[in-house]
């Protein structure tokens, strides 16, 4: 393994060669940045991964059941398990999706579940991402390059090969495909994850398209060629968020979507991965209810733990949050990507008072969680090993079966004092090794 660590620079150079970057807007201009890679992997033992795998399959299965229920019969609300105001007044709930069952009844085909491991080795789920989770391409390509840089490491250590991600994704696309080609729909090259869109298109043999290259006619979706010829599309792995997907059904201002795409989907003529409407299931407020959901739909106890979470919506919880404000991390349910996260202890004076008042006046907007002191993972910095906070995004793919990718995206914070690991906030990434024995 040592040999690999010494090759950190070489691997980063290769990553540069292959254009492994993400886009970022700084002062209003678009820049591409290399996503810094650290060659010390996160290693997950076989038994540990078996446990995570069981828990993730259970969780995603329940979340898919939940989505079908909410846009269908709504039994979980009728039975009083989740208060209705958490669903139908939420910005994640899309009334347009009522009664539109996706092909094979799958809503979340690609789920990114964010986990951390506490110092006592307990894993906690921090967040479910069921809309357009990104990041799988990075460890996938990094592994390829690490194997080049240090073949002996992988000869000696039995690490599950993670380069099958594209094959897993293609399997899911093919399974839900309603007849036609597979397309990855991108907002365009000025999107932060454009590299990933294009890379996954290449590796799954899909066509990478922008909205302008697609058209809905006669209730079907077509890809348009340069001589006006048309090819039917059967599955769209869309990397555009719901609001912008179809200006005729969602946000009318969208210029990156495809008009009437959602109509073709509702008629069963094209599959959308992930299905629109998933925002209601990965809402930070709904997160609180996921263990209850698992019990409700599957009649099982949740295998994975949620971080201890409080909803100021409930009087009792509000009281706790206000009393223990300094020990909690408070999250705005509408924000993502590490934004809208506030550590109680970091606020002082007027700012703190204002924030507390905001929580009091808009309790539904926030959740509060105990700060989990998660384990550090070493990174190499100037030739030395130094500890940094890191999380793990596990990828769960739902097609004919629910499968957990035997790897994941481990993101670390480059700042030693920070718990925030998002790439948009300057973090780096690591490979995630799942040991085979």
């Amino acid at each position: 393994m040592k040999q690999l660590f010494n090759q950190s620079d070489a691997v980063n150079k290769l990553l540069e060669r292959y254009g492994v970057k993400f886009g970022i807007y700084k002062n209003g201009t678009f820049k591409e940045q290399l996503f810094p890679f650290d060659s010390i992997p996160r290693v997950i033992e076989k038994e540990e991964f078996d446990y995570l795998e069981r828990g993730l399959i259970q969780r995603v299965t329940a979340l898919n059941r939940f989505l079908a229920d909410i846009y269908g019969e709504k039994n979980i609300v009728k039975d009083g398990v989740i208060p209705e105001e958490f669903i139908f007044s939420s910005s994640g709930y899309m009334a347009e999706c009522e009664g539109a069952l996706p092909p094979k009844a799958i809503y979340s085909h690609i789920s990114g579940i964010d986990l951390v491991q506490a110092k006592d080795k307990t894993w906690y789920v921090l967040e479910d991402n069921l809309r357009v989770p990104s990041g799988a391409s990075y460890p996938m390509i990094a592994r390829n390059l690490c194997r080049r840089a240090s073949p002996s490491t992988f000869h000696d250590i039995p690490v599950a090969d993670n380069r099958n991600y594209a094959a897993l994704l293609k399997e899911v696309m093919d399974y839900v495909n309603t007849g036609g080609i597979n397309v990855i729909l991108t907002p365009g090259r000025y999107n932060a994850a454009y590299f990933e869109h294009s890379f996954l298109a290449e590796k799954t043999g899909s066509i990478l398209a922008t909205g302008q290259e697609l058209i809905v006619e006669d209730d079907y979706l077509y890809y348009i060629g340069c001589n006006d010829e048309k090819q039917k599309v059967g599955a769209v792995y869309r990397r555009i968020s719901d609001e912008y997907l179809d200006p005729m059904n969602f946000c009318a201002d969208s210029v990156i979507g495809v008009p009437h795409l959602y109509s073709a989907f509702k008629k069963g003529n094209v599959a959308l991965l992930n299905a629109p409407g998933n925002g209601i299931a990965d809402d930070k407020g709904i997160y609180y209810f996921v263990p209850k959901m698992i019990e409700y739909y599957l009649n099982e106890k949740s295998i994975l733990n949620n971080a201890p979470t409080y909803l100021p919506f409930y009087e009792e919880d509000k009281k706790y949050v206000l009393e223990n404000f300094d020990n909690l991390v408070i999250k705005d349910v509408a924000e993502a990507g590490g934004y809208g996260v506030v550590f109680g202890k970091d606020l002082e004076g007027q700012k703190k008072e204002d924030f507390i008042n905001l929580v009091k006046s808009e309790p539904r907007r926030f959740i509060a969680q105990e700060v989990i002191d998660f384990i550090d993972i070493d990174i190499m910095e100037n030739g030395e090993r130094v500890p940094r906070k890191a999380d793990l995004r596990a990828f769960v793919l739902t097609g004919k079966e629910v499968k957990v990718w035997k790897s994941g995206l481990t993101r670390f914070s480059r700042n030693p004092d920070s718990f925030v690991v998002n790439s948009s906030q300057g973090g780096g990434f690591k490979d995630t090794w799942v040991l085979l024995r």
Partner: protein, 222 residues
């Protein structure tokens, strides 16, 4: 492989054109640089006018330092290489990561050359990567139409530049022949009268250079 969208065809075509522009102007820069070593007058001005770019340079040294490397100047070689890169990176699903990597390498090499004490040596590497790119295109892209659209861009740009440089008719003849056969393989609709116009002009050795350039620029609408 199925059909190619207009945006894809356009990207492939301009990828070919800009890549060729970088290649041929770099070679021309090499020749010009060599000439400038021995002379005191400003022959770079001639180069500017041949390339049809504004002469914004105060001296030959400034030209040598800026023409290849000035990212703020839209006519510099690096600007053209950046355009090559911009067109390449949106073609990943069509031409593949490995092919694109040669453009990445050329660009990062170009950036490094700027700070080099012997830039021509590094610029030689840029040329090497460009040639490796073309080699990889031939080696790895199975779809003939895709290959042909990139190469049509390359051929059009080459002939365009040779016309600007007023190269001897024998050279033009060779480049034209390659372009003509390539265009037929692209599956694109293009203006065939331009082909017959050029054919006649070259065979009869009666070339109106500016008219020929104008026609060539409009052979295909992408």
């Amino acid at each position: 492989m199925g059909i190619i969208a207009l945006e894809k065809a356009s990207g492939l075509y301009w990828l070919g054109r800009y890549n060729e522009r970088v290649y041929t102007t770099l070679r021309e820069f090499f020749v010009g640089y060599d000439r400038m070593i021995d002379e005191s007058e400003d022959s770079y001005k001639e180069l500017c006018s041949m390339l049809d770019i504004p002469d914004v340079y105060g001296s030959k040294m400034e030209f040598i330092n800026k023409y290849p490397f000035d990212e703020k100047n839209v006519d510099s070689i690096i600007s053209n290489l950046t355009r090559t890169y911009d067109n390449a990176m949106v073609m990943r699903d069509v031409i593949g990561t490995e092919t694109i990597s040669y453009v990445e390498l050329a660009l990062s090499c170009m950036k490094a050359a700027r700070y080099s004490e012997a830039p021509l040596l590094e610029l030689q590497e840029v040329i090497d990567y460009i040639l490796a790119f073309w080699g990889y295109v031939d080696d790895s892209i199975d779809d003939r139409q895709i290959r042909s659209i990139i190469k049509a861009g390359r051929r059009i740009e080459r002939l365009d530049l040779y016309l600007r440089f007023e190269r001897p008719v024998s050279m033009l003849e060779r480049e034209f022949a390659k372009l003509k056969s390539r265009m037929e393989l692209t599956g694109l609709s293009y203006d065939k009268t331009v082909i017959s116009y050029l054919e006649q002009a070259i065979t009869e050795n009666k070339i109106n250079y500016s008219e020929a350039i104008l026609k060539l620029e409009n052979i295909v609408k992408l």
